[in-house]
């Protein structure tokens, strides 16, 4: 196979690839747009507060917003490091 046939023998025309990539991306972006814009700030502030008490990484806190019909839910998911007893038990109890 020559160098040029690498480009020519692509399975799909590039425009088809473009369409598929757009469809996937826009499905994401549209659902993000429907979310309140305070989510990133809420995430950051939660992280700051929790970090005062527990060692935690940024991606262990997930803040999400979901709308189904007329009901909206704000979901906050905090995953604590699995070192039982290393931290005040009260907080761990509250978080799990």
């Amino acid at each position: 196979m020559s160098f040029f046939s690498l480009f020519r023998s692509r399975a799909k025309p590039s425009a088809t690839e473009a369409k598929e990539r757009l469809q996937i991306l826009l499905a994401h972006e549209r659902s993000d747009l429907a979310k309140p814009d305070y989510l990133p700030r809420l995430h950051k502030e939660l992280l700051q507060v929790i970090a005062k008490y527990v060692e935690i990484e940024e991606d262990k806190i997930i803040v999400d917003f979901e709308t189904q019909g007329s009901v909206s839910t704000l979901e906050v998911n905090i995953e604590l490091p699995s070192r039982a007893g290393a931290r005040p038990p009260l907080l761990q109890a509250a978080a799990t």
């Binding site: 025309p13 590039s14 425009a15 088809t16 473009a18 369409k19 990539r21 757009l22 469809q23 991306l25 826009l26 972006e29 549209r30 747009l33």
Partner: protein, 271 residues
């Protein structure tokens, strides 16, 4: 009461100013009293495309600030009756356009004109938001290209949430798709998104397709809206767009590559 139409896109350089000039000129040629406003503060270009750059004395910002009356800033087109241009200023002050100021000017224009065409700057920042805020209708100028389609989708989201009509719960801004710089021969080769793909993704009604054409650059060199060039395919497509917008039934053209004769094709191959 005049209608406010914004030409918007998110992405830059897709043909908003070209389309604003052509669409406004076309409406005026159909006897509609039309004004086209440059919202691209600091990067004014509409005056150049309309060929009236040397006649600018006062501008949009002067009117907003009360330094000039609207009638002093409006430039009447010399070629087309019923057509006026409201140029913007070169100021670098991003806050020059105030919402109250823009509203006052638009309200005054609504009394004098049938159509008020707003040439939006690129982006989704202040300038673009100001251009679309008071719109009754929006023409989404899109190129058949991934980043342009994505930005059009974003702008549609903004129209649906941050325009005055959205904020006040009025009837939503009416949306039209204008697909520009379309190259049917590249579409046929599978190198460019086709009309159907863009329509499927953006899902808004199609106003028209403007083919990629060298005549657009030529018209801009001359300071003449391309719709005034009857030999231009792009100009003809804009004429169709205006007719369609005003309710005429006009089939979409320029979606197929131009067929060359066999002899020409052979020459093309060997060239």
């Amino acid at each position: 009461m005049g209608k406010v139409i914004v030409m918007t896109s998110g992405k830059g350089g897709v043909g908003k100013t070209t389309s604003s000039a052509a669409f406004a000129a076309g409406l005026a040629m159909k006897g509609q009293r039309t004004v086209v406003i440059d919202f691209d503060v600091g990067l004014r270009n509409l005056d150049l495309i309309m060929g009236c750059e040397r006649r600018v004395v006062f501008d949009f910002i002067n009117v907003i600030n009360g330094d000039a009356r609207l009638s002093q800033a409006l430039i009447k087109d010399k070629r087309i009756e019923n057509l006026s241009v409201l140029p913007t200023s070169q100021t670098r002050d991003k806050d020059a356009l105030t919402r109250d100021g823009v509203e006052k000017v638009l309200d005054e224009l609504r009394d004098q004109f049938d159509y008020i065409v707003c040439d939006s700057p690129a982006g989704i920042e202040r300038g673009a938001l100001m251009a679309l805020y008071f719109a009754d209708e929006a023409v989404i100028v899109t190129n058949p290209e991934v980043s342009s389609v994505r930005d059009s989708d974003r702008i549609l989201g903004v129209l649906g949430s941050r325009s005055r009509r959205a904020e006040q719960g009025l009837e939503p801004v009416k949306e039209h798709l204008l697909l520009t710089r379309y190259d049917p021969s590249r579409v046929e080769k599978g190198e460019m998104l086709k009309l159907e793909d863009v329509l499927e993704i953006l899902a808004i009604p199609l106003l028209g397709i403007i083919p990629e054409s060298e005549t657009v650059l030529k018209a801009s060199n001359l300071g003449m809206p391309v719709i005034l060039d009857p030999t231009s395919k792009a100009g003809q497509a804009y004429t169709d767009v205006v007719g369609r917008y005003l309710g005429e039934t006009i089939e979409h053209r320029f979606m197929q590559p131009e067929r060359r004769g066999l002899f020409q094709r052979l020459l093309w191959r060997t060239a």
